[in-house]
Structure formats: C-alpha cells, structure tokens
C-alpha cells in the first residue's frame, strides 16, 4: 500500500524537479544580471542553494531521528539515514562548488583562515563520522538507536557552531542575508529563489528514489526468505 502511494508520488516529484531545474538554468544564464564578479558569479546560484539543501537534508535526517526515538516510528531510521546520506552528497557538492568559486575569487582552492569554510568542513566530518558509527554497529535496533542519537546531535551542533563562528568574527566569506533582508538585486533574488526551489525538489526526488529502492530491496529479501 504505502509503497504504491510513494511510487505514485515519485513521477510527479521528478517532473517538478526537472521543470524547475530547467527554469532555473534558463534564468541563471539568460535573465539574471552579471555582478562585478563577472561570469563566475553564476556559480552563486548553484553553490548557495546546494549548501542550503545540504542543511535541509541534515535537518530532515535529524527530524526523522527524533521521530524514531520519540515515537518509535517504523522506517524512520532508514529515512533518517537516507536523508543524511543525501546531505553528505550535497555537502561534497558545496565544498566542490565553493572551492571552484574560491579559486576564482580569492585565488586559492581552500583558505584555512576562513572560519566559515572550516565550520562547514567540521559538519562534513561530523556526518562522515556518522557513517563510520553506523557501519561499525551490526544492523538491528541498536544501530538504529545509536545513529538516531548521533543525528540529533548534528542538528544541535549546526546552530551552536554557527554561533561560535559568528562570535569569532573572522570571516570574509560573504553573507547574502543579513538583518536588512537579502542584499542583492530583485532579479537576482528571484533567480536565486527559483534555483533554491529546483535544488530542493531535486533533493526530494532523490530522497524518495533511494527510499523506494531500499524498501524494494528489503521486501525482496523477505520474500526470498519466506520462500525458503
């Protein structure tokens, strides 16, 4: 039942993601005005949405972890894992796009003096450790619990580290949003919003796709066993 309804949702999501992505690309290259940065500023519309999506995935993973611990929701462990897995993938993309941008803008692939970057690296390491933890515990209820607790830690770690970085005030990494709202032109902001939406729907599609695959796997294994 549930698999069927999810299967049904998947094509719709995928279509949405595709259209939004196409729209975003069109907007980025033909509509949004160039900054003083020149052409390489276009990467802004990828880099930032990707970074936001990564955060979103981590948060969703944390939420599912909470559901698992709190309500004992069935399958929440798998969902949390898939979300975090996706988050790590988007995290790598953030690092890559950021590095490319940094190469053009600052002349280095990576700058240690930039706490904002190091902070993201810390989060990334944190979620790598999540994988190490998960794979060194045999599958079963204990693994689900440990992973969920650690995922919850992540959700608290993010704001605390952001706070810590803000305190040290050493960053040159730009801030697109401050107290006065977005500091960019309206057309840029619109493009930015569309590419954000595109990235989010893309992530949602991948998330559901992976879940369906994993569930199918499980179902198959059960069937095989029932036949034995």
């Amino acid at each position: 039942m549930s698999t069927w309804s999810r299967n049904n949702r998947l094509p719709a999501l995928a279509t949405l993601a595709l259209t939004l992505t196409a729209a975003a690309i069109a907007l980025i290259f033909f509509y949004a005005p160039l900054d003083e940065d020149g052409l390489n500023q276009k990467i802004f519309y990828f880099h930032v949405p990707i970074a936001f999506t990564a955060y979103g995935c981590f948060a969703w993973g944390g939420w599912k972890a909470l559901r698992h611990l709190w309500k004992g929701e069935e399958g929440a462990d798998l969902e949390s894992y898939v979300a975090i897995h996706l988050g790590v993938i988007f995290g790598v993309l953030t690092l890559v796009t950021g590095s490319i941008w940094a190469r053009y803008r600052w002349g280095h692939w990576w700058v240690w003096s930039e706490d904002q970057l190091v902070l993201f690296l810390v989060l990334f390491l944190f979620y790598c450790a999540y994988f190490m933890l998960r794979f060194s515990v045999p599958p079963g209820p204990q693994r689900a619990n440990l992973s969920a607790v650690y995922a919850l830690f992540g959700v608290v770690l993010i704001p605390v580290s952001v706070l810590a970085i803000r305190l040290s005030e050493r960053f040159i990494h730009p801030v697109a949003f401050d107290k006065g709202g977005p500091n960019m032109a309206g057309s840029q902001f619109f493009t930015f919003c569309v590419s954000c939406a595109a990235m989010f729907s893309l992530a949602a599609t991948l998330y559901n796709l992976e879940l369906v695959g994993k569930r199918l796997d499980m179902r198959l294994r059960e069937l095989r066993e029932a036949l034995q």
Partner: protein, 212 residues
C-alpha cells in the same frame, strides 16, 4: 532524591575502581604533562601568549579524550553494563554517574596541568579557569555518551575521537576565545549554552544508547 542516590552510587563505584586499578588517571597525567613539556621545548621564549593558550587547550582536549576512551572499559569487559541496565534506576543515572566521575578525573588532571602551565608559560587568570571548568562539563557530558556509543560498536576506541572531535569544536572555539579575547563573557556564555543544550540531549537520549 532516589535519582541522586543512584548517581552517587554509580560515580562512587567508578572512583573506587580507579583507586583499585589505576588505569586511567596515570595515562591522562602522563599525556598532559608530556604535552606541556613538548610545548615548552618547541615554543621559543618570546612566543605569544596566544599560541601557548591554544596549546593548553589542545592538551586538555586530548587528555580528556584519553580518559574517555577507557570510560566504559570495566563495563564492557564482562558485560556488566547489562547488570546496570537491568537495575530499576533511570538509565540516565548511568550516564550522569559516569560523566561525574569523568569530570572528577579531568579536574584532577587539570589540578596538575594548570599550575604546570602557569609555571612554563603564562600567568592564568579567573576567566581561563572558568572557561576550563565550563569546557570540562561539556566534554564530560558529550564525551560520556559518545564513549558509550563507541563501546557498543565494533570499532570501539578507534571511533571515539572521530565522533568526539567535530562535536568538541564549539568547546575549543569558546574555550580559546574565553582565555584570549577581550570580552570573555560572550565566549563563556557560548560554553554555558553548549553545556546546557548538550547535557539535556545526552541526558534524554542515553537510554537509547544502552538498550536495543
């Protein structure tokens, strides 16, 4: 009341064990002292207070990690953790008792390390001590939970630093900030916030770490 009595009994047991077997504290002392000695040798006379303070924090962090890596050794050895988990006390008492005993070990190690630091490097003041104390609380709280996790996993001690270091970054930032910045209050606040937040999560989630 009962809860506190449980915590007390568990922490007391850890101290007793350490008194008997002396497994952990000597290693922690050795490490922290030799780390300071190393720094003493490499830091040229006129180097900045900043560098020295940073190194103190590294030494403290790794010392804590060393202590944590053995935190659940006795429980794991003969599956004693099962015995504790079966007892009617709230499971979080196991965490709290262990965290308190870790805190005691840390405090003892620092009782040696801080004067040694003052001797070798620079004068220590109230804020530094306050920062260290707050950091200890956070380290003990988070570290104990992670040590329990690592003990349950197959990779064990190998895993603990990986799980712990990313989570310790805010502590380091806060601690170093508190010891060197002009307005330490903000950093102490950050440390306090960290302690409170993580202590609550650890307290609430420990039960899930030790049961299936």
């Amino acid at each position: 009341m009962n809860y506190l009595a449980d915590v007390g009994a568990l922490a007391r047991k850890d101290l007793l064990l350490e008194l008997r077997a002396r497994d952990t504290l000597p290693a922690m002392l050795l490490f922290v002292v030799s780390a300071l000695v190393v720094f003493h040798f490499v830091l040229p006379a006129g180097s900045s207070d900043l560098a020295a303070t940073g190194l103190l924090w590294v030494a403290l962090l790794f010392t804590a990690l060393l202590g944590l890596s053995r935190a659940f050794a006795a429980e794991r050895e003969q599956g004693v953790i099962d015995g504790l988990v079966l007892a009617p006390s709230d499971r979080s008492a196991i965490w709290l008792g262990k965290a308190l005993s870790i805190l005691a070990f840390l405090a003892l190690a620092e009782l040696i390390a801080l004067p040694a630091f003052a001797l070798f490097f620079r004068h220590i003041d109230g804020t530094l001590i306050g920062g260290v104390a707050l950091a200890d609380v956070g380290i003990a709280a988070v570290g104990t939970l992670l040590a329990a996790m690592a003990a349950a996993s197959r990779a064990r001690e190998l895993l603990l630093p990986l799980l712990f270091l990313p989570l310790a970054i805010p502590i380091v930032v806060g601690g170093v900030g508190a010891s060197v910045a002009d307005d330490p209050a903000r950093y102490l606040g950050l440390l306090g916030l960290y302690d409170a937040l993580f202590a609550i999560i650890c307290w609430a989630s420990f039960e899930y770490v030790v049961t299936e």
